[in-house]
Symmetry: C2
Subunit: 335 residues, 2 copies
DNA sequence: CTGAAAGCGCTTACAG
DNA sequence: CTGAAAGCGCTTACAG
């Protein structure tokens, strides 16, 4: 029932090769023939079959994006950047949601094996580098977004810089005892952010003090949760040390931390990380990552790679920026 | 470079037909042959080429989901329901993000014309019914999610019931002058929700009063914005009428309305609509729509349709439920 | 400017 | 239980 190139060719009184040329703007076709073909195609609702075209030409003009959690602010921003660049460069974007069921890598591998696209963007998937290495054998362009790899192109954020910016700012305000409310200390971004924290202390001649680092007990989502932030702040308030400001490794933890403070008279200037949409509501000073830009650059990088494959590994690091709102400007208020 | 069925057939010393049968679990293949084929395929990383398979067999085992805004709570919940049902019924899901650029219908039509999938789910797209009618000519199963159609299968929420539930609850608490902070009065869901509001008033013998309906001036996103809610509440506070409770057509408007109230001593019990994730934080009583269930049912409906196409039009309406938190339980406090 | 024909990587009757 | 062959709907040298 669906129309094929043969139907159009017959109606227009030309060969299928000519119809194909019209739709691909390739070769040379007499203007009148072209118009006729286009008119008929439009009337009957014909469009080249994506699979047939992809099979015959190798070129699919499709970028496929694999992502675990589709509905958060982070991904929405990254997607916007990707979408923009992909469209401008005349590709189409297909998204596949990778389900959190333990076999992440198998799901990714399956999609890639099936050869859906000209290139793949793996966003926030955090696979092990050895797993990524195994993808090389499929011999197709793949870029990693929001992570780094030794085997595949990547675009990532500079988490060291983020921790550094937040801490430096607090130091510049005269605070000296800067506590950290941290998510899982083994998580890569956390490690990096803390590295930035130490770097800032170091530059200001302040010694790093282990007893100022507080972690919640809840370790779901690597401790990037409200509950974990709440717990960490409770520990801070009951500790012997007397911090005068606080760096929190994520906004969502800061929400929990603020709830903990609200129950008491205790107040501490805070800077956190992520710039979630709620952060503006509650006046959270935070480190913003230009997610849109990350997506944009990643799409560009992948498409470049498609056009010159293979080639030497490319990796790009995007700098975060500090956003100051109320939470860092309040006066500390001790027990 | 990528492996094909011919490579596997040669290595295994069988014909390509046999390899095909192994991968499709069709026909009968000697167990030992099957094992051998599978072992070789796994070793070299072979998997049938999606396009070639789709072209040859007509059956693609793909459902494609078209959606305008990917990153909101609503879609994430709907997606979860869809994903679950789709996987259980052995299909794969591809998502295409429809960009808000005025040519929504053209984008949708383009995807469908290209025959990517066995069936399509159009989520929150709100196309005109005449446009949907035009999709019939592509002769492929399509279901509408979060809207209703006379031409295509659909799953939608019962917005009348939602307005009715919220209003009835406030009436049951003894309130009699129930104001409405409304988004665009011409929007379909708003009309429905207000119809439910009137129904509830009616059942309780209370006359509908036009001067209790307040709309913001901001009409971006059909007035489903914080700003619009803020403006509407400002109007309410400055009006002559003296409402004792309030139904707001969305949570996001309620956020704005609450900000307006916070600037004054004015307080009004509120119930809104949507149950956004922030609603729990701020204690908003609201109407929840089981989005997960909607997705689940829609996927099921589409796949049924794929298996018996064509057939008589199916449409399903999902009931919302009331969630009571603090915002409706406070005492009114007049100027 | 246009057409005939081979080929892309599969599936699926048909025959054995 | 297995293979040879036609066909899915296109693209693309090649020839004219």
């Amino acid at each position: 029932l669906a129309k094929t190139i043969y139907d159009i060719a017959k109606s227009a009184g030309v060969s299928i090769a000519t119809v194909s040329r019209v739709f691909n703007d390739s070769g040379t076709v007499k203007e009148s023939t072209k118009l006729k073909v286009l008119e008929i195609a439009d009337r009957v609702g014909y469009h080249p079959h994506a699979y047939a075209k992809g099979l015959a030409s190798k070129k699919k003009d499709i970028i496929m994006l694999l992502v675990p959690v589709i509905s958060n602010y982070f991904f929405s921003e990254v997607l916007e950047g990707i979408q923009k660049r992909v469209s401008d460069l005349d590709y189409e974007l297909n998204i596949v949601n990778i389900i959190d069921s333990g076999d992440t890598f198998a799901q990714v591998e399956r999609v890639i094996k099936r050869q859906w696209a000209d290139g793949y963007l793996l966003v926030s998937l955090h696979l092990e580098d050895e797993q990524l290495k195994r993808l090389l054998r499929y011999d197709v362009p793949i870029s990693i977004v929001d992570d780094t790899s030794h085997y595949l192109d990547s675009v990532d954020f500079d988490n060291i810089e983020g921790g550094y910016l937040a801490t430096s700012y607090l130091l510049s305000k005269g605070y000296k005892q800067i506590a950290v409310l941290s998510a899982n200390l083994d998580s890569i971004p956390v490690k990096m952010r803390l590295q930035g924290y130490r770097k800032a202390l170091n530059e200001n001649g302040i010694e790093y003090n282990d007893s100022l680092i507080f972690t919640g007990d809840e370790m779901e989502r690597d401790g990037f949760t409200e509950k974990s932030g709440y717990e960490a702040m409770m520990k801070l308030m009951n500790a012997d040390s007397e911090p005068d400001a606080c760096f929190v490794t994520s906004d969502i933890q800061a929400v929990g931390a603020m709830k903990a403070m609200e129950k008491t008279d205790f107040r501490l200037p805070i800077i956190s990380y992520d710039n979630l949409s709620i952060s503006e509501y509650i006046g959270l000073s935070t480190v913003n990552q230009p997610m849109n830009q990350m997506g944009y650059r990643a799409a560009e990088m992948l498409i470049n790679r498609i056009n010159e494959f293979p080639g030497s590994l490319k990796s790009e690091i995007i700098k975060p920026e500090l956003i100051i709102r109320e939470s860092s400007e309040i006066k500390a208020q001790q027990r």
